[in-house]
Amino acid sequence: MLPVDVAITRFRRDLTIAALVRFALLVAAMVCVFAAPLFGSHQSWMFILLVVGGIWVLLSYRSMQGTRLAADSPSLIAAGEFDRAESHIDASLRSFSLFRNAKILSLHHLAVLRHAQQRWRESALLSQAVLSQKLGNMQGLARNSLLLLADSMLRLGDLRGAFGAMTRLYRYRLSLGEALVLQLLQLDYGWRIGAWESMLQAVGGKVQMCELMPRLNAARSQALLAAAAFKTNRIELAQWLRRRAQLLAEPQEIAPGQPSLEEIFRLPG
């Protein structure tokens, strides 16, 4: 398994090398173009320019190969083929890439993989490494990394870190899928700090959002809302939400290892 600190160090080193190579190739190309008219040299610069162009095309091709390797990993992670995903990401991170976006994407995929493997600390570290880069037009990746970071922090019990990541997400316009994930994270956070009233604000809209979530997320969200409703003595609402959650999943699926949430399924009514 690829150690996270090694991956991050290698990622930073490769970004620096790639930037230097790009700069060197561009300078070489400019020298070739301007050398003859400026310095009046009779040497054939065209040949050198062609070599520089050839190197650029070759390195671009190699970078694209790395990008293609990395592109396979999300589907492998989704299919639960973690070992294959790991080897693809490892190969992609090891290969030289002229373009920083490909490297950043590979590191993000590693963060997603570690999250799927429930290695929360490693996933958080990788997400932070991704977010420390200037992401420019990769706003979707920034949002995904923040969601991963917030979830990993919550699982680690670092509520301050989770809050920080969620606050940063408010700067972005989220897609529907991202908004659904954020709602679950907010409910989880609210439940952990006992913010029952704020959890139940605009509960009608939250319930509608739950209907669009994957089964377990929907069940868990509604169980969390039911817990808040029980705490604030809104018994009818609590029972209704609990029933919806129970129709979607078993209590042990909804709240694994969280006895305080599982309790709501033992309450009468």
């Binding site: 089964r215 009818e236 979607l248």
Partner: protein, 298 residues
Amino acid sequence: MEAMECSPPFLDVPTLLQASEPRPRTPWLHFLIGGFVLTIVLSWLVGHSSQSAQTQDLLESVIAFGLMGFVASITLSGFVSVRRARAEQAAVGAVDELIQLRRWPEAGLLLQSLLSRPARSPLARAQALLFLAMVLARYHRFEDSVSVHDFILGEIPLDDATDHVVRLGRAMAMLREDNLLDADRAISELRRSSRGVESAGLALVEIYRDVKTGHPAEAIEMFEKRRDVLRRQLGHRVADGWALAARAYDLLDRPRDAQAAYENATVLMPLPELIRRYPEITPLTSKYKPAPAPAEVA
């Protein structure tokens, strides 16, 4: 007035299928290779010509500038092309969101504009066509929906999972169209192609067929057998299964079971939405009580 007469009808399937046909892609890589070869040849010719060294330098510079301009223009066109492809993918994603949010008119309008011009990527087109079939079914244009499904199955190569989803949509549209013979054939095909893999979608289609054709006992048997799969794979859409089970219990004159199933269905999904999907459950509204929703979410 004339413009109105000329404009194609809303979500006209043949027009959209034809207009969205992807254009052949520009072979930029070939141009790039050709440009390099041309530069080498020109450079060689200039180097071996009888002109003075100063003229040769000037010509080489012109060729170098030309080469750089050529590479820059190819890079720029690639950049523009990627941006357009991203915009197309974003539009398809937006249609997906609108459908999930049940904002059908907006989804239809976006599909109309998206499919009225050649698609950049066949994958985006396939997704857009699948969404078109869903929107058409929502507008009760089941025949059109079936024809779009048939087009996707016939013309676009699909992976197994997508193929299954398309065939499910097609079978459901056929059932809604009351085309029971074709629907039955489509269900048999689905059963064969699923090769024993548990599919909640297939179970739901079969339950619906049994309810429609007056075989409630078979519908309930299927529902009981597949209840766990329906719950695992459908999420909130398991309400569809409960609603159809309620209708089947009602047909078998088992009012207590029908009431319980009806409550489970309506606790998960608003009743109007269920009736829109399955008009066959309308008689239940006068016989059974839906689950009461609390005031906070009503």
